[in-house]
Amino acid sequence: MSISNSELKHILKETEFPFCARIALGRVEEMCTTQNIGRTSGAKHVDISMEIISEFVFCEVDRRGSRKRRLNCIQELQLLEVLCDFFTSSVIGGEAVRNMVFMSLFPPTHSDRSRLLIKLVSMASSTKNVPVLTATGMWMQKLGCTSKYSLDLAQGLVKDYFVLIPKAVSGLQDLPQLAPQFTANFLTAVAEMYGVVEKRHIFSPPPDTLLEVITQWVSDNPTLCLAALMVNLQLALPLGGVPMAAITPFAGLFKWCILAPLHYVSQTSTSDIPTSDCNSSESPLYSRLHLALLESLLECYAPSPGLHCADASATENISAQHIAAIIEPIVRWLKDRTRMENESARIRGELALHMALDRLAQVIQVALVTHSVYGNIQELFSQLEMLPENRLLQIVINTHRNL
């Protein structure tokens, strides 16, 4: 370390924004590097780097620690540029150090920075900045893909970016190849986000643009959903860092496909408008996404050469519990359905129900055959008993209960 921290602070104070941010980032990187190789003890360094980041990168406090005015738009843009450049160029400590710096910049304690994080990831997506996206993927995994932080990020990205940019499908087509782990974690978060049940609805459908992008991604990249499992996290995380158990997007996305028929049939029966309205009928994309997900499961079971699953447990990528969570909304929908008295609505409801049950049965069948399910499978089977009779579901239950 060439200069002391007080000297550094002095220099930084003399330097104008955004150059001070660049220098500060370099300093944080240095400290993370020494910390990573275990030369210095953590706590003190963490405090110092937190101070430096707050004062000279985000410019949240002045030297006396009191709050400053927020950065204006131009300054924000300058800062985003500095961050993007920094992650692209920083190679000293490798991926682990880069992830540490990223963590330090956006720790869970600083939810106020999430607005900037969304802007940073949006920028990285459009400029195809792989290092930033990769670090973001790791960040999501560390904090949990379905945690509040990840969901906030995902929601922000969808609202600010995916829905806004024209031709999202073609523009984002290569994201799964560029940053597979980020894309997979983003999928997991987004799936969770729209799978959340609101009152009177069993499922809040994602915007068409997003659904289209996701369907394209999964169809074109059969291994995408497994990407979160493919990375050796211990190498990418700081020494002693513990990642959350990886969650794949499978269960969440399957939930969309299974509940979509029920959602749209409810819409038509409550709104009294026949199916002509495009918003009120199920998009054919669900059928395609459903198939792409099933094919992804098969792909993982019989991996193509060059793709290696780390070990046998790597195929266990859907929790039985998550599948079971799909059953509850169906049961609830059945209860609500008693209100439908109209004959044609009743028939439509019956068809939608069986489409949902057929898809559910298909998911269970393929997931079980490919050994993708972990957790309490018997519990899952007993929950299936609550559902109305469906021939395929019965075949699947009969096939597997005896095993």
Partner: protein, 666 residues
């Protein structure tokens, strides 16, 4: 979807799933596929389910997916009839190049099937095939796609094809099994390092030579029990050379390596001679004996084939026949015939000549058009090979055996006549021509035969007998309408100044050229018979020659000058046929001149006395003005006929004046 849910109670689970998939296919192919994936994983051992999955992929034209399904089913359910039908449709599509969409899809799909499954598939289909031909074709397909399997299946396929041919009792070797063996399988075996017993290799070599010879000889180029499309063989000699090279390599033959190059014939010959000379001392039991025999034979047959096909007008050329022609410079023709024309201008050697470079004793060979020169080359090569094949007893014995086996006789006959004529063995040539007569029935066979007889007898000095055949030639001449259309300008090629004492010519069988040859042959015979002697009846022969010289006038103007000089020396000339046949203006002018005082006032008895008013001989000396006027009138009448077609005039002369011609030739 509606009816399915209601009416599906009576069917099995498997059928239910297939039904749902098929039903979904109409409205939502993605859903159909999802159903199929479910069905496939639920019933991995149910053929109907797996096969339906394949059908759905096929209907959707998903080549890769269909290939995946097909491979899986093929490995699991080989005994299913439906699957077997599909396998056959697939292998059939592989062997055709039809653009039918189903076949195109299947071919495309096959390329996406893993290699080991492809291999297994072809092999299984071949083994299941009850039709031998089908079986062999499938195995060939396998070997072609998987050269590494040649060693394993190749030798067995050789046996199968040979046995099949034997049991089919074909009349000759140009049949479907032999074609597959020789044209399709042997090149594969040849390029592979698979080992075969020497005896087998000899047999395969035999069969190949035999096949290609028969094929080349067959006019229709049809192969028994093969469709026309497959019967076309692009370059038979190249193929045979490839086999010769490959079989030779397997037999450890050094010489056969030359068949791997596309050299010109001289280089092949050099190679053969080098080999022959270095092995000359080794004796007949040495292994090199066999390779010499086979390599020369193949090369010989190649030259022979090209030679024979040029003679028979392969390639749209006019057919040819080899005949004795005439030398200008030398005094002797054919050893016994002397020509009186001295002082022929020494012409620069033309490109259409070729003499064997060894000595002046070998005859000069010429052709009518420079483009035909290759026939001379092939002929000389074939003669050399033939001589080499007969240079030792053992070679001769083995070659005779081989040629009997290959039934070479019919091919060799024509060539051997030409070779004996070339070598001046005229008695033998006459014999061979006689024997050939019964066999040869081609369009030009008669013409060729009479020309050969006339030519050979002429060489022997038997002019009267030669004339008989000339007359036969004249009666079997092609009609003018067909062959004069090529409007040959006659040249003096038949008469060559030559160091050697003989000249042979490849005569095109066209009306003017054949007629020119007959004329020249008779002129030469008459010259030989009459000119050296000072007989009183020489006038008749001179008259005949002058008549004949009109045909290709003025090519032999010099001879005419010589004859005129002779008449002047004698002082008189009498020819009773003058009025009938002498119509050439130049010739008539010469005679007019002879009758004048400057011309020497020669006594000419050339008009039939019956026509003369005074009942006296035409005489230039006479004071009788009337006679002189008569002569002039008669000559005018002759000049008026000068535009008559000469070929008909000459033919009429030959056929009508046979006796007078014979008289001069005896």
């Amino acid at each position: 979807m509606g009816p399915v849910i209601g009416d599906s109670n009576g069917i099995s689970d498997e059928e239910y799933l297939v039904l749902r998939a098929k039903d979904a296919l109409k409205s939502d192919p993605y859903a159909a596929k999802a159903w199929m994936i479910t069905a496939k994983t639920l019933f991995p051992n149910n053929f109907a389910v797996q096969f339906e999955a394949y059908h759905i992929e096929k209907a959707a034209k998903n080549v890769k997916e269909a290939a995946k399904c097909f491979s899986a089913i093929f490995q699991k359910f080989q005994d299913e009839g439906e699957m077997w039908q599909e396998v056959q449709a697939l292998t059939t599509s592989l062997r055709s190049d039809t653009e039918e969409p189903d076949a195109v899809f299947l071919r495309d799909m096959f390329s996406h099937i893993p290699l080991d499954v492809q291999h297994q598939l072809l092999l299984m289909t071949a083994e299941h095939s009850e039709d031998t031909m089908e079986h062999c074709r499938l195995l060939l397909l396998l070997l072609r796609r998987f050269p590494q399997t040649v060693a394993q299946h190749g030798p067995r396929l050789v046996d199968t094809l040979m046995t099949a041919e034997k049991h089919s009792h074909y009349q000759n070797s140009v049949n479907c099994f032999r074609k597959l063996l020789v044209c399709d399988l042997l090149p594969l075996l040849g390029s592979n390092s698979v080992e075969l017993p020497a005896k087998q290799l000899f047999r395969l070599l035999h069969k190949s030579i035999e096949f290609y010879l028969c094929y080349l000889m067959s006019p229709s180029k049809a192969i028994q029990d093969l469709p026309e499309l497959e019967s076309k063989i692009e370059d038979p000699w190249k193929n045979l050379f490839v086999i010769q090279e490959a079989m030779g390599r397997k037999l450890g033959w050094e010489l056969s390596a030359m068949f791997g190059h596309s050299w010109n014939k001289d280089l092949y010959w050099q190679k053969i001679m080098q080999f022959h000379q270095t092995r000359a001392l080794l004796g007949d039991d040495h292994p090199s004996h066999k390779q010499l025999l086979y390599c020369i034979t193949t090369f010989f047959l190649h030259c022979l084939h090209e030679y024979v096909s040029t003679l028979d007008s392969g390639g749209g050329e006019v057919p040819l026949v080899l005949v004795e022609a005439f030398c200008g410079e030398s005094d002797a023709v054919g050893g016994s015939v002397s020509a009186g024309t001295s002082g022929e201008p020494k012409l620069k050697r033309r490109k259409t000549e070729m003499a064997d470079d060894s000595s002046s004793l070998t005859p000069l060979l010429t052709v009518a058009r420079p483009g035909n020169m290759v026939v001379v080359h092939n002929f000389l090569m074939a003669v050399r090979c033939w001589d080499l094949l007969h240079s030792s007893d053992s070679l001769e014995r083995d070659f005779t055996k081989l040629s009997q086996h290959l039934k070479l006789d019919s091919w060799l006959n024509g060539f051997l006549i030409d070779a004996t004529l070339y070598k001046g063995r005229f008695d033998e040539a006459l014999n061979k021509i006689g024997n050939l007569a019964a066999l040869d029935t081609g369009v030009n066979a008669a013409l060729r035969k009479y020309l050969r007889l006339a030519s050979t007898l002429y060489c022997q000095g038997l002019f009267a007998r030669s004339l008989e055949h000339i007359l036969q030639v004249v009666t079997s001449l092609p009609s003018s309408s067909i062959l004069t259309s090529s409007a040959h300008h006659l040249t003096n090629v038949l008469l060559q100044p030559s160091q050697s004492n003989r000249h042979l010519h490849f005569l095109p069988l066209t009306r003017p050229q054949v007629l020119q040859y007959c004329v020249r042959l008779l002129v030469a015979a008459l010259k030989h018979q009459c000119l050296p002697k000072l007989r009183p009846d020489n006038d008749l022969a001179i008259g005949h020659i002058i008549t004949l010289l009109q045909f290709d006038w003025p090519l032999e103007e010099e001879l005419m000058t010589h004859l005129m000089e002779r008449i002047r020396q004698v002082g008189s000339f009498s020819y009773s046929l003058f009025q009938n046949y002498i119509v050439n203006v130049d010739v008539l002018e010469e005679f007019m001149y002879l009758s004048t005082e400057q011309g020497g006032c020669i006594t000419l008895d050339i008009m039939p006395s019956a026509q003369l008013t005074s009942q006296r001989r035409i005489s230039t000396r006479g004071a009788d003005k009337g006679v002189k006027e008569d002569f002039k009138l008669a000559m005018k009448r002759q000049v008026a006929r000068s535009l008559e077609p000469l070929d008909n005039l000459i033919i009429k002369f030959l056929t009508s004046e046979r006796d007078l011609l014979l008289q001069s030739l005896q």
